[in-house]
Subunit: 256 residues, 2 copies
Amino acid sequence: MTAPEELRGLVEAYLGELALTPELGGLEGSMRHALAGGGKRVRPVLCLATAEAAGAEPEAALPAAAALELVHNFSLVHDDLPALDDDAVRRGRASTWAEYGEAVAILAGDALLAEAVRLALSYPTPAVARELVQATLGMIGGQYLDITGAETDLAVLHRLKTGCLFSASIACALWVAEVPEREQAPWRAFVDEVGLLFQIVDDILDEDGYLLEHGREGARVLADEAAERAQARLAEVPADTSVLAGIVTGLAARTS
Amino acid sequence: MTAPEELRGLVEAYLGELALTPELGGLEGSMRHALAGGGKRVRPVLCLATAEAAGAEPEAALPAAAALELVHNFSLVHDDLPALDDDAVRRGRASTWAEYGEAVAILAGDALLAEAVRLALSYPTPAVARELVQATLGMIGGQYLDITGAETDLAVLHRLKTGCLFSASIACALWVAEVPEREQAPWRAFVDEVGLLFQIVDDILDEDGYLLEHGREGARVLADEAAERAQARLAEVPADTSVLAGIVTGLAARTS
């Protein structure tokens, strides 16, 4: 089993060398700016770790893992736009629109999404792309709820905004590893808890959402409970899931 | 063979009844606004006519045809934004951002693209979605060239901005009709000319591009030559292409 830091190294190397569609021409600079901002690469690492636990080479899951990261960054590029969250800074650097202008940022986001689907379609089965696109649609629906500020259950909002793409990180890996659909249920039960855990910890760190609703201690309890359920679900998966268990522990304890 | 007007009726009915992903929630209104503006539905009609000429039921190509129209409308919704072309009116009605605001229009465009891919992925073969996504990437590259105003060959710009999605209209239909790749060449030679024809006539009607570069008479000659080449290519396709021949004649003669 490959350690998470090593998996992350694979992801960074793959993203760094990723050949974009030549017809995108000069748009490439803004797309690479969006992708190069670092971040934790949680989704692609989860994808590679799942693929390996399910019996595939982690390398076989790299196109799917990169596709997940491209979709994540597509959403960040568009969410940062002045008309949406109006964030000029992202991970300590100029956000894409602040660096390249709004028009280029809109197109760069579009192109990141389309490139992501192209990568997901590099597999013989369309199932990888289907998971990715369904998750993307859920995520867009969540972003719409967020900007309209409608009275929405926090759990529903988070399941859409964050949970969908987390679920897809696991589900895409299962298809890459050719796990038959009838054997995917225990994996899918696991990932729901991981998405929730990630979001609660995010809110604690950002002093947002769950922290505002439940207080710091209440949110911490919820996070620990989600981590516990995630580990319990993971224990039911008939595979060596030690690396995934370590990732869950890391997600629960993270401070940034 | 089904007449173009009847094919267009099939497209309108399918789009009108199309069930969008439930998680998109309230975003649906803005997406339907973008889709309901009418337009000529040239791409989906070409797709259905090609599918039928290649031996499939036109109805079998409806998801692919709708996907092409969704991608076309995704590009219009984003192109109309203030940061890009700043068009508040589209086909005599408020453009999507003018009606729903910029934030919603950005998300509606994203969702139209993702829904388009979901439709293309409803086929057992991933080839339909692959054609659609490659065309989308080319189109985004063309739009980038357009907004940066770089010195670009008009033919290159148009091939990207318009030609790619036209080609995909035929290519997607060929995959739906299960035409083997080795038999697709005469079809693909045909569609290149159709895309060019469509764009030249567009420029004549909009007093843009080819008209500015070649004058009204010069552009008309180019359009007629493209139509002639398209018909010649079509004659080399071993199928009943009478409906497609009529569509080409209509595209050459159109006045709106």
